[in-house]
Symmetry: C3
Subunit: 152 residues, 3 copies
């Protein structure tokens, strides 16, 4: 049983779509960056790759590569889950923490767990999605970006 | 064996009591926020709930609910530990990291380990409490708040 | 199977040597602080000590103690790995995440994995090294410091 830890931050910008855990969330701001910038999935991909010791999301899907511009991050996660199976492993449990002041994550938790479970092809009961704020402090507290931290 | 990851930040304010890991620490500043604002216990509760995939501390004890105003966070941790037992599990090991410039955590480590062990009803040898600074950088480095990161 | 989590931040200063994961990286800036300030090894030592519930790097190697000034952090990691063996354990897997805007970590990943594996005396296949940026946000995004987060 190996465990990996992922962390990522993306910048919030006005008017962009907001994807988190494979779900589009209605919000005044969205995330910019690599692909659809789904910071939670990026951190989860890194946690899985970390457990496998197979590099990181940037080594498999370089942000500089135009083919990933605007890409749905779900395909990165499907790739990581497939790597686990190719190595003869199973994804026993994943735990995602989204760190932001807004939007509220709770109302979307079930949809997020369901989306992640579907992409990884594991039971929803093995997918945890949590959220916390940083009490208006720091980059997430000022609403400059959203961070995600994940264990797999 | 499932593992969960918790993270939390609370704001430091002058003259408030400082609770960390269930221990009141003499210090010029204390934490404000939800309940007694024991940021380390909050992160630990989230780690346990993450391992169980049973939501997060905010979904069980909403900060907006007046009944938790000023509440001792130990009761949230006792609840989480009870959930583990109700699911037929045991808390094998917890590892708490407190991130702050001040106060020094080392002198309180033993009291903290003992308090957490007592609340969760597990041996002290299974409770790790660590601390680090961020070298006067960032929100914790400027003394605006204390962060805690926990594995369970 | 116990798991520990380590986190550390060190300050970037112009002209200092930059040590990360036991490898010296050519870069305009280096890290200042305790010992050679290898923030990734510090976080890894804390993860291992956290899994053992044996305090933290600061309790074993106090930054205030002049004997550790300029010390190579590899010796702290060798100590932690030895503590695992002394307790009858093995280091099954470690996962290091380096959080910085620059330098690029990818080109040094293999050297870092190899250096860490050698110090801990475990196979390189059990050592994961990953990197992420915070998109120019926060203390790492502004280049004020480098953070590392580690699981062991
Ligand atoms: Mg990303
Ligand atoms: Mg809290
Ligand atoms: Mg350090």
């Amino acid at each position: 049983a190996r465990t990996g830890l992922g962390f990522d931050v993306h910048r919030l910008v006005a008017g962009a779509p907001l994807w988190l855990c494979g779900v589009e969330i209605p919000h005044s701001h969205g995330l910019s960056g690599h692909s659809d910038a789904d910071v939670a999935i990026h951190a989860l991909v890194d946690a899985i790759l970390g457990a496998l010791a197979e590099g990181d999301i940037g080594s498999h899907f370089p942000p500089s590569d135009p083919q990933w511009r605007g890409a749905r991050s779900g395909q990165f996660l499907a790739f990581a889950a497939e790597r686990v199976r190719a190595r003869g492993g199973i994804i026993d449990h994943v735990d995602v923490t989204i760190i932001c002041e807004a939007p509220k994550i709770g109302p979307h938790r079930d949809a997020m767990r369901s989306a992640l479970a579907r992409i990884m092809d594991i039971p929803e009961s093995r997918v945890s999605v949590k959220a916390t704020t940083t009490e208006r402090l720091g980059l997430t507290g000022r609403g400059e970006g959203i961070a995600a931290q994940t264990l797999a």
